[in-house]
């Protein structure tokens, strides 16, 4: 079995566990490459169906290409799409550094979605290799009613036995892509021919390696204009994937604080 097959089979197992154990459940769709891979894996796990809603917590500041992509593929893939707006930045904790404060809008947006739909499970496409606090995550990660992540006392998780019992009001984040790397994602996109937003391809010497809000995401210098060129670029790079995400770099603990409060 190839490494991509092993990752695919493991993610399918996780998705089926989540769907079997946690209801109602939904998947977050940020329109980026990772969540498209995750959606693709769901269609593999459920044989062409996506048997739960797909949620876009909309900051209103994504690139126009991303909105076009969303509207097109939610129809093509027959998704049950839920779109909810995030609250304005004025309502967010002013003690956070500016970009983190902007990103934290999504935390509150997600919290509102949880309150409205009472989801017990939220499937999110984070990966361990993205960021050091994400590397500490569990595949099934319980969250308190407030959405907070208690990273000091996570439940044991081994031999693919996941925590799926939870108190009233709490929910579990499920992370089917936790063991994937950025390069794995691209190799899988290439193998499966998964559609992605064009912004990932270089134009005029620049491309986006990671897609967030327009105002807090910067493109990188690159001439990689196709998936195969991106794969070549990534296997040689020494720059981290989220280097273009301002919110990660404002302060040493910026991302940890975001995540402890319920950010993805």
């Amino acid at each position: 079995m190839s490494d991509l097959d092993a990752l695919e089979n493991q993610s399918i197992y996780i998705l089926r566990e989540a769907y079997s154990r946690l209801k109602p459940i939904a998947m977050l769709w940020s329109l980026g490459k990772d969540s498209n891979v995750m959606l693709w894996l769901a269609r593999k796990a459920f044989l062409g169906h996506v048997p739960f809603p797909v949620v876009h917590v909309d900051t209103g500041k994504k690139f126009p290409e991303m909105y076009e992509f969303r509207d097109r593929f939610s129809k093509t893939w027959n998704l049950n799409l839920i779109v909810r707006d995030c609250p304005p930045v004025e309502e967010i904790d002013p003690s956070l550094p500016p970009a983190a404060r902007s990103a934290a809008r999504k935390t509150i947006g997600l919290k509102n979605v949880l309150e409205e739909f009472k989801f017990k499970g939220i499937i999110a496409g984070i990966r361990r290799d993205e960021q050091a606090t994400r590397a500490k995550e569990r595949v099934f990660s319980p969250r308190a009613e407030s959405g907070a992540w208690n990273f000091r006392d996570q439940p044991p998780e081994f031999w693919d036995h996941f925590k799926s019992d939870l108190p009233e009001g709490a929910h579990i984040r499920i992370h089917p892509l936790l063991s994937w790397t950025e390069l794995d994602i691209w190799r899988y996109i290439a193998r499966e021919q998964i559609p992605i937003v064009d912004l990932y391809y270089a134009r005029g010497g620049k491309r986006y390696r990671s897609l967030g809000d327009q105002d807090i995401t910067s493109p990188i210098e690159s001439n990689a204009a196709s998936i195969s060129e991106i794969i070549v670029e990534l296997s040689q790079t020494k720059t981290s994937e989220r280097a273009g995400r301002a919110m990660d770099h404002e302060r040493e603990d910026a991302f940890e604080r975001l995540r402890a409060q319920g950010y993805m």
Binding site: M1, D3, A6, N9, Q10, Y13, R16, E17, Y19, S20, K23, P24, A26, K44, A45, L47, H49, P51, F52, P53, N80, I82, F119, R128, D129, A132, T133, A135, K136, R138, F151, R152, Q154, P155, P156, E157, F158, W159, H161, D165, L166, P167, S179, T181, L183, R187, A190, E192, P195, S226, I227, S228, I231, V232, S235, K238, T239, S240, E252, E256
Partner: protein, 635 residues
């Protein structure tokens, strides 16, 4: 497809990313012996750190006024950096010329053993780190023992901080002898014992020039020497069922093959039942349909016969069955703060099956220092022990020695993972297949499709006078009016017949609940929404009812304070109990154990009946909805 052309093959070769093997290994050892530093050095010396990372770590170290801390690379959390310890397990990736590695860092502090296990269980090999100045310590031994319990067989030892002992060969040799002899008792042989200085980089990636007496491999060479676990396709087939899907006309039985392989046309048996059916097809999406599938694959199959199959069944070939029995000896590691005692009731979860078990005997607790079994009456947190358990349900078990993936499981208490278990031996029960009973020719699915809802047991528990019977009768009428098959099993009515020979002692109450649960189960099998109204004061008895009825059991606590119940006193029972005319009355001279994790709580104190009933109905409808309806409801 979507306007983009792909040319993967040539590109990936040109980039040299043909390194598709990924090898996860753990770094373990006593707290402060330098695990994180070893990882930092390994990444740095293999040129694997992202740009700017070194500067970032330097800044974080300077901020805390200490010398440069490699450990900050993995100790990403503020609490970890401030206290200088690793709290939770983490993973990081790097590659050598040979293959890609996933490093699993496990905390060495005893308090965080559950986190260490969560990490190490994913590894195929381990590096055990020992501080040269401190030598072998308690967590060194405990981690080695855990490695062995988790089934790891490949291990190398790094004796760290040799610079602090002046690169002294005699001291190194003494540690090497001590750890070798300890590992030998666990039947583990280290592939290498390497003297290293993580801080200065000696013998990590490049051989050190400060220890001419050492001619062995570096840590990196030891890593490259580990081999990948072979895929277990030649073992007996074990396909634990995760779920049964009916999204379209296909009825898909899904799960991951843990060992062995299967082929279209194979006759499968669904242990621990003796039901059999043939594989009609192996279904896929966006991939060719295969004729066979093997270990590691998540599959979806269709069968030639509509058997009742549910999560927890294990598809096997009947000539290579697991052991079917009620009793087993387990080696466990216990992670919960609350000790485990004889008589405790838990669940044993093996793959997707959950068995209700009771601890019959604690045979031994293992002394980590001497590896000797010692007598004990309870098992404390982080202890390793051997126990005998008995299950009320027939279990399908494999032995850990033969079948790694299905010979192990976890122990659950109130839904929390509180321990890990290896099956050392299991006693086959003399199961008389004739008593298994015939299969209904009307399947549960068919029955539910006709009824338009699922059978279920809504178990209303609470004090006398809390409103159980009133709500039960109200819900029965409401559901009936909506076209549901609903029926109340009332405790008082049951006592006029099915349980008329029983009194109110704890033992009789237990039997009362057992019989009521069996009756409720049969009615639920017949498609009814059974609303049970029973005080059922003991948690243990209700857990037993849950064990009998399974996942269609819904524990609903009808809650009201004693004063409210007593003021209602619809049958004058409280008055009689207060005067001593009746004994063992729940709430007065017999206890009521409130459910710890009920599916629903309805507090009827000061709440109008209509609101309580509405809350109950709001819970009941999705709970009994068919899968397709349920999915729609989630929207």
């Amino acid at each position: 497809m979507d306007g983009t052309a792909f040319a993967l093959q040539s590109a990936s070769n040109a980039a040299g990313v043909a390194l598709t093997e990924r090898f996860p290994f753990a770094i373990v050892g006593h707290v402060d012996h330098g695990k994180s530093s070893l990882i930092g050095r390994l990444l740095h010396d293999t040129n694997s750190l992202p740009e700017g990372k070194f500067a970032e770590l330097k800044a974080a170290s300077d901020k805390r006024g200490g010398q440069f801390e490699w450990s900050f690379l993995l100790d990403a959390l503020q609490a970890e950096r401030d206290q200088g310890i690793t709290i939770d397990t983490t993973q990081i990736f790097f590659q050598t010329a040979k293959r890609r590695y996933v490093i699993i860092d496990a905390p060495g502090h005893k308090e965080f053993l559950k986190n260490a296990i969560s990490g190490v269980a994913q590894a195929q090999a381990a590096i055990l780190v020992i501080d040269a100045a401190e030598g072998v310590r308690e967590q060194t031994r405990r981690h080695a023992l855990i490695l062995q319990l988790l089934g790891l067989r490949q291990i190398a030892v790094a004796v760290n901080k040799v610079d602090l002992i002046g690169f002294d060969q005699a001291r190194f040799d003494a540690i090497a002898r001590e750890i070798t002899s300890y590992l030998a008792q666990l039947k583990l042989t280290p592939s290498a014992i390497v003297p290293v200085s993580a801080r200065h980089g000696d013998n990590i990636v490049t051989p050190s020039d400060k220890m001419s007496w050492y001619q062995g491999s570096t840590v990196l060479a030891a890593l490259d020497g580990f081999t990948s676990a072979p895929v277990a396709t030649d073992q007996p087939l074990r396909l634990p069922i995760q779920d049964v899907f009916k999204f379209d006309e296909r009825r898909l039985v899904v799960g991951r093959i843990e060992s062995g392989s299967l082929r279209i046309g194979d006759r499968l048996e669904f242990a621990p039942s003796f039901k059999q059916a043939k594989i009609a097809s192996i279904e896929t999406w966006n991939a060719p349909t295969p004729l066979t599938a093997g270990a590691g694959q998540s599959v979806a199959i269709t069968l030639d016969d509509e058997l009742f199959i549910e999560r927890g069944h294990v598809a096997v070939h009947s000539d290579r069955r697991p052991i079917l029995g009620h009793r087993a000896n387990l080696r466990i590691f216990w992670l919960d703060a609350q000790s485990l005692k004889v008589g405790d009731r838990l669940k044993l979860k093996v793959a997707t099956a959950k068995y209700p078990i009771e601890i019959e005997q604690i045979s031994a607790v293992i002394d980590v220092e001497k590896l000797q079994p010692t007598q004990a009456s309870e098992i404390g947190r982080n202890a390793i022990a051997e126990i005998t358990v008995r299950s009320r349900a027939l279990m399908a078990l494999d032995l850990a020695a033969d079948m790694q993936r299905t010979g192990r499981g976890v122990l659950l208490r109130h839904g929390e993972i509180v321990g890990g278990a290896l099956v050392l031996s299991a006693e086959a029960s003399d199961v008389d297949k004739r008593l298994i009973g015939p299969d209904h020719l009307v399947t549960r699915d068919a029955r539910e499709a006709v009824n338009g809802h699922r059978g279920a047991v809504l178990w209303l528990t609470g004090l006398s006078g809390s409103g159980k019977s009133t709500l039960a009768m109200g819900l029965e009428r409401l559901l009936f009016q909506r076209g549901r098959q609903a029926f109340v099993l009332d405790g008082d009515l049951l006592r006029q017949g099915v349980t008329s020979d029983l009194g109110f002692s704890p033992k009789d109450r237990a039997e009362n609940i057992r019989r009521s649960a069996e009756v409720a189960k049969l009615l639920a099998d017949a498609g009814q929404v059974v609303i049970v109204s029973l005080i059922s004061p003991y948690a243990q008895d209700r857990d037993r009812a849950r064990g009998i009825i399974g996942e269609r059991f819904h524990e609903i606590h009808i809650k009201a304070d004693l004063a409210t119940c007593e003021s209602r006193d619809p049958k004058g029972l409280y008055k009689a109990a207060r005067s001593g005319a009746i004994k063992n009355f729940t709430g007065i001279d017999a206890p009521y154990e409130a459910p710890e994790r009920p599916e629903l709580v309805i507090d009827t104190t000061g709440q109008p009946l209509e609101r309580s009933l509405a809350a109950l109905a709001a819970y009941a409808e999705p709970a009994i909805a068919l899968q397709a309806v349920k999915d729609a409801w989630a929207i």
